[in-house]
Amino acid sequence: MKAILLLIALSYCCFSSTQSVDPPFRPATTALPLSVADIPTGPTVAGVFDGRTPCQEIAQALNRPVSSDCFKLKWRLVLYQHPQTRTHTTYRLEGTLYRQRVREGSWTQKTGTKTDSTATVYQLDLNDPNQSVYLMKGDENVLFFLGKDRDLLIGNADFGYTLNRISPKK
């Protein structure tokens, strides 16, 4: 009997170790593209947006070299405003494409995409008259990247061309 009990106990230990491969639920621990500690706050911050997008198409649109196996890009966009008037002032764009040099400049609001003439569009000045980053405002919390022709970029089954507000909450 002792031998049987010992065998069962050993079996249980083995099964338990199998189960430990599948640990209990815990929140996602994926690293943010950029540190949470770096999120700017205060009355001059209109919004902080993070996201991951496909790589090749947008890198090409922005004339940024990437390796052929690049399949995703991490982004953080900080939009600043005047603290009293809330008019748009500057932006800060960082992430995989701009590891070497964070992009900063002014941002303005425009109207119209290729398929929606009434959509609100944010234009980020890249200090090059021929190049800007365009984002369509889905609503207060979600932005969508536009391509060169001001049409929305279409993602894939893994990533969309979407930035999500992470701060301040609206």
Partner: protein, 195 residues
């Protein structure tokens, strides 16, 4: 406690982990490439999906996404409110009447996953959701939008998707606002090129 009860208890304890394990896909995937390439095995689900498509219907669009597993989208996917789920993989196929182009049914091949650690993701379930869908015009505070309503066959399985672009859909919450993703994943569904 006699020997028989001890035996039963130990046998139960030994079998519980096995029973739980059977319900899980059982594969850990290293996050070294696109999740789609590593994890998805839709073939069986998609084959089952073809059985619910009414005669005279054709594909209006196939949309895919890997989104957060937020509370608003769990009911449609059949994922328990408190179940282990960090990401959802979507392959949504919308069908329409071939003659009238009116919406008919949808199929959603769904896969729920959670992070074991920073580099490993694990599938916790794959399922096929079916139901009917409709196109609607809805007014928000600033504009009128086209919204697709998906009503699954399971009770409570409902989701509204705003048409952002002919090739982009985005789920909305009960208040009609777009669902907000995370730094790592968004809710936007993109029209897939390959059918």
């Amino acid at each position: 406690m006699n020997h028989r009860n001890v035996f039963r208890m130990l046998l139960f304890l030994a079998l519980v982990p096995l029973a739980g394990y059977k319900t899980i896909d059982g594969t850990n995937q290293a996050l070294t490439g696109p999740v789609t390439a590593n994890v998805r095995q839709w073939e069986q689900l998609l084959q089952e999906a073809t059985q619910v498509i009414p005669a005279g219907s054709s594909v209006a669009g196939v949309f895919g996404a890997t989104s957060p597993c937020g509370a608003a989208v769990r009911p449609l996917h059949g994922v328990a409110a408190a179940g282990p789920c960090d990401l959802l993989n979507w392959r949504l196929t919308l069908y329409e009447d071939t003659q009238t182009h009116l919406p008919t049914v949808f199929t959603l091949a769904s896969e729920s996953m959670y992070f074991v650690d920073n580099r490993t993701i694990r599938t916790t379930g794959k399922r096929l959701v079916t139901g009917r869908w409709s196109r609607n015009q809805e007014r928000t505070s600033t504009r009128v939008s086209t919204v697709y309503h998906l009503q699954g066959t399971q009770q409570g399985a409902f989701l509204a998707l705003r048409l952002i672009h002919p090739a982009l859909l985005h789920p909305t919450g009960p208040d009609g606002t777009l669902l907000v993703g995370t730094a790592g994943a968004s809710y936007t569904l993109s029209k897939l090129k390959e059918l």
